[in-house]
Symmetry: D2
Subunit: 340 residues, 4 copies
């Protein structure tokens, strides 16, 4: 049986199209998942526009933010059954014997490969998923929300696991994309006194951020960062990643303060890190997420502490993937979601 899929078939710009693909065969420790919803990630857009910086195993089905129901199980899978509502982590392939994996940090296993670039992703009807990737989705959480567990986990890791916020800390998030807005929401939830800063072009996305009760700033965040005692912000989340935003972060963070860097930027830094030394600052990289983070984010959705609906700009059929991609690419929506 064949199903349509959004396939990235070549490294050239624009090499994405709908194709018919066969239902995947599953191994003894896998399940077959019938996709309900899949979020469009910035990295899907980057592979489409061919400005990504990671190796892609062409042709590959896009999509790694997804949830659905289990429709078949490998013979060694325990703890799951047909019909279970689940979301899947993104680390489709890992080495279980790698020292990072043995400590529960398989997200930092250098051999890790993810859905949507390393193996076939979820922008299709049926996805093969290793059972170790699964998390149960309570009935109270609709798949349109649950499929966004993944970017919420990125934010949780950047703001909670890789920072240390205390109630009332002044937290400045740089960059109001999906990750930046979710970082701001998470920092707010964590007790922070939070602002998010962007450019003129980000005004509509900053409006979305404001629904999480955070202050939005266009342009220069210096006044906000220095407002309390003139020393700077307690914590800065760099969700943009370019040289200029890290420089801003170093300028605006207080002595003994903390910067979480979750945004990427392949260009060289154009400044010295001497302020990091002089102010005794922590600069913490944050990458991906692991099992306990997934469980926790789902719990936050279930108990109502975390609501992702403000960032969802629309839900499209797989057939209309290109409109969904375009809306997000042009900043008209923060996040596009597809359905099967």
């Amino acid at each position: 049986m064949n199903s349509i899929a959004v396939v990235n078939y070549a490294p050239e710009k624009g090499s994405v199209e709908l194709r018919d693909i066969p239902t995947p065969e599953i191994g003894s420790e896998d399940v077959l998942l019938e996709m309900a919803n899949v979020g469009v990630c910035g990295s899907d857009l980057h592979q489409w526009t061919a400005d990504h910086s990671w190796p892609v195993n062409y042709p590959v089905v896009l999509g790694h933010e997804f949830g659905g129901r289990i429709v078949a199980l490998g013979d060694r899978v325990t703890g799951w059954k047909e019909g279970d509502r689940v979301v899947s982590e993104t680390a489709a392939v890992i080495d279980p014997n790698n020292p990072m994996s043995r400590q529960g940090l398989y997200n930092l296993d250098p051999t890790r490969k993810g859905f949507g670039y390393g193996v076939n992703g979820a922008m299709t009807k049926y996805v093969r998923v290793p059972a170790r990737c699964l998390h149960s989705v309570p009935d109270a959480v609709p798949f349109e929300h649950a499929c966004l567990t993944e970017p919420c986990c990125v934010a949780f890791n950047a703001v909670v696991e890789n920072a240390s916020i205390k109630p009332g800390d002044r937290v400045l998030v740089i960059g109001p994309g999906t990750i930046g807005i979710l970082c701001a929401a998470m920092a707010k939830l964590y007790g922070g006194d939070v602002a998010i800063v962007g450019l003129e072009a980000d005004r509509s996305r900053l409006k979305v951020a404001e629904t999480y009760g955070v202050t939005s700033i266009v342009g220069d965040a210096t006044d906000w960062a220095m407002e309390r005692d003139g020393l700077g912000a307690d914590c800065i989340i760099d969700a943009a990643g370019v040289s200029a935003t890290l420089k801003m972060a170093l300028n605006l963070v207080r002595p003994a303060g903390h910067i979480s860097k979750v945004g990427w930027g392949k260009d060289p830094l154009q400044f010295s890190l001497d302020p990091l030394v002089q102010k005794n600052v922590t600069l913490q990289g944050s990458f991906s997420h692991n099992w306990p983070i997934w469980e926790r984010v789902i719990a936050l959705m279930e108990n109502g502490q975390l609501d992702v609906s403000p960032i969802i700009g629309g839900v499209w059929d797989l057939e209309n993937w290109e409109e969904a991609f375009n809306k997000m690419h042009h900043g008209e929506v923060v996040k596009s979601v597809l359905k099967s």
Copy 2:
């Protein structure tokens, strides 16, 4: 009464000479300290060769690594008496009401000024020292050693307070100057499995490092860093500070590993920090030291855990300051010490 002093009198290269200066007047919360020994710091050399990057209040007596005896006390000083053997911290001027100071982190008070550049230092007979800067030196610790408490505190802060080493951690120190060697010694003392890496020109200083029981490496430390499991070193101390050494640190640190940056480098970084994100690495700036660190380092000297004698390349009279400076400047000795 006048005494000779090693004075840095102007911003031009080589503007250091012996001058006669009057005995300082002390305030009600100061003591007058009769200097016994004073270490020569790289920053003294930098002011001499005029390649420093901080504001200097010319003319100024050099020297901020010092110990001696109290010979007079201001009327509000409690807890000290004439004849007490002491060393002095370096933060000669701070704002006690600054939020950093109120938390015991006066070393990070942006208004802080130190001996030897902001106010007169210790390369002379009598020094005015605020009583809050003093620490008692046990009889068992000679002044020639005690005067080096300051660089040991820099190392303690970089390796202990601003890192988190576990017994058996692979720790790589980059840069075998005074601070680098003391960082290696401290990491060894902390249970690390330690190596220090330098250049061909550093061979004699690497020999000194070896006396602390650490491995020395000339050139490429990759094999050593990858030896245990191929993932990299648990902790890297960048005591060099230039762009190339931080790049080396990012390459050689393991996922979820730690880099302490105690070395300075005013040139822009010439690479992207994406590996910091991808490997979820902590990059921690480390600056100066504070009261509990001083007490602890003195305790380590007293109980014999820390021996600074291997790094002392000689002791010179103040009159022979230039030879002491030259020996250290040319790398013939790790550390020069002066006596009054």
Copy 3:
């Protein structure tokens, strides 16, 4: 000039009465504060009912939760002026040279003495306060609220500094007195999924707790603690302190979980701590507070994150101290406040 004061004049039960006392003389580093509001603490009640366990310097003016305006300053006080609105910390007497004080932890200086038992407190018109105890109160925060900074700081220390809560952590607070309710409010603010448990007699105080958005439980909290995954609560705050509540905490905390003990209990524990070992649990004592905690709690009141009005059961003149004490003693109100 004399003013009335609520004075605890002897160790016998009920030895509290209104007395006329002279305006205190201040030292060179003190201010004279004109009290605006003072909260009644459980420890004031304990001294009144003579079931306290600490030494009291009879006769002594009660009251250590207070704010007001500066009306006179010692000649060495800097940074403050007449008319400033302030609250005062409680550590009236400390040894500034004690190692704990030198690290900013003067609250743990064993020689510390507090207002209301060691030196005269604030249930009167004028109070002598060392300038180092002062914190500025923004105009937006009324004194009736600001005077409760102290118990909020106790809660902040117990929940934030002496625990480590992540968003969504299940946090169970035992004991709905002032400190318990404020701990629950703080844990909620910190992102916790919070419940507070009490007895039948606590129902009205549990109602007050609910205004902070936390779940209230009468009796057995086991179901709530085990609800998520059967392993127990992430964090338990024991604000009651007796043997039975710590046993409950050990039973309900999850493996590798955390218990903060802020409540006191002078009776011996009647059980073994083997579950602490077997579950690898942290039991953390929490005592008092220090400078950065006070600044932070005031910031939380100013920016609206923390509202103490729900716990205030009434405001009485000093003359009516006995009614204020009685209402609180009988659990009719959570917190009584006096005014001058």
Copy 4:
């Protein structure tokens, strides 16, 4: 094929004898290990003398501190081959889907069962071991040492993972049994200034402790704990576990200090924990160990940082198990080791 085994066959005191048992059958994820050496643990003695407090699955082969060579592998085992030199962790049975296991903390999975009481242990020729329990032993480490990896891991967890020692910290270990001595050795290795305290009857075991460069104390450790500044020890490791030793720990720990409790004691505490609150102390339970701890301890043995030979009091054939047990039971040796 049958082999002899030291079997604990009933709950009555003394119910241990040599029996012939068949070679175990292994499952698809197990290996068959040919035992080289097995350490005698206090818990083996407790089952022998029937004063243990855990459920035992009679009859059961004793012994959970062991190493040997792989002689057969299940069909799904990867990464191992016949002849590999290995040691085995103790958690023979765990639920891999338990939330603790999913985070790498399977040692805290409440369903965990260990070798020697839950399933057959290693005091025999062949042992069935799940492959996930295995760790490679370098040729440089003899099995007589490697078999003691387990108690070293208990000490590492108590001193390193569940405490936080800085170089020069005054660390007091209470109780000079195997675990206490290894805790002292580990604290020394971690940079501590270490003492171990015991009773008159412990003098010979204290002598063994001294070989690790730590101070030994008979009776009252107060002077040692207060020696530096009168406030107490930075860290106390309670490896005895009874009520009296925890009381000693609370008395001798400094404000804001740390107590690791690794010793068990089934009797109720006979004192109040108010000093824990007043001194803001951390009391941390420490149980067992997990994968990264095992890897680390083996690395410490390999690089020479940790030498277990001082604690080994003799090596006996399985046939002479009773002498080995008796020597250790009567305190004539710290640790007995058996060989196959």
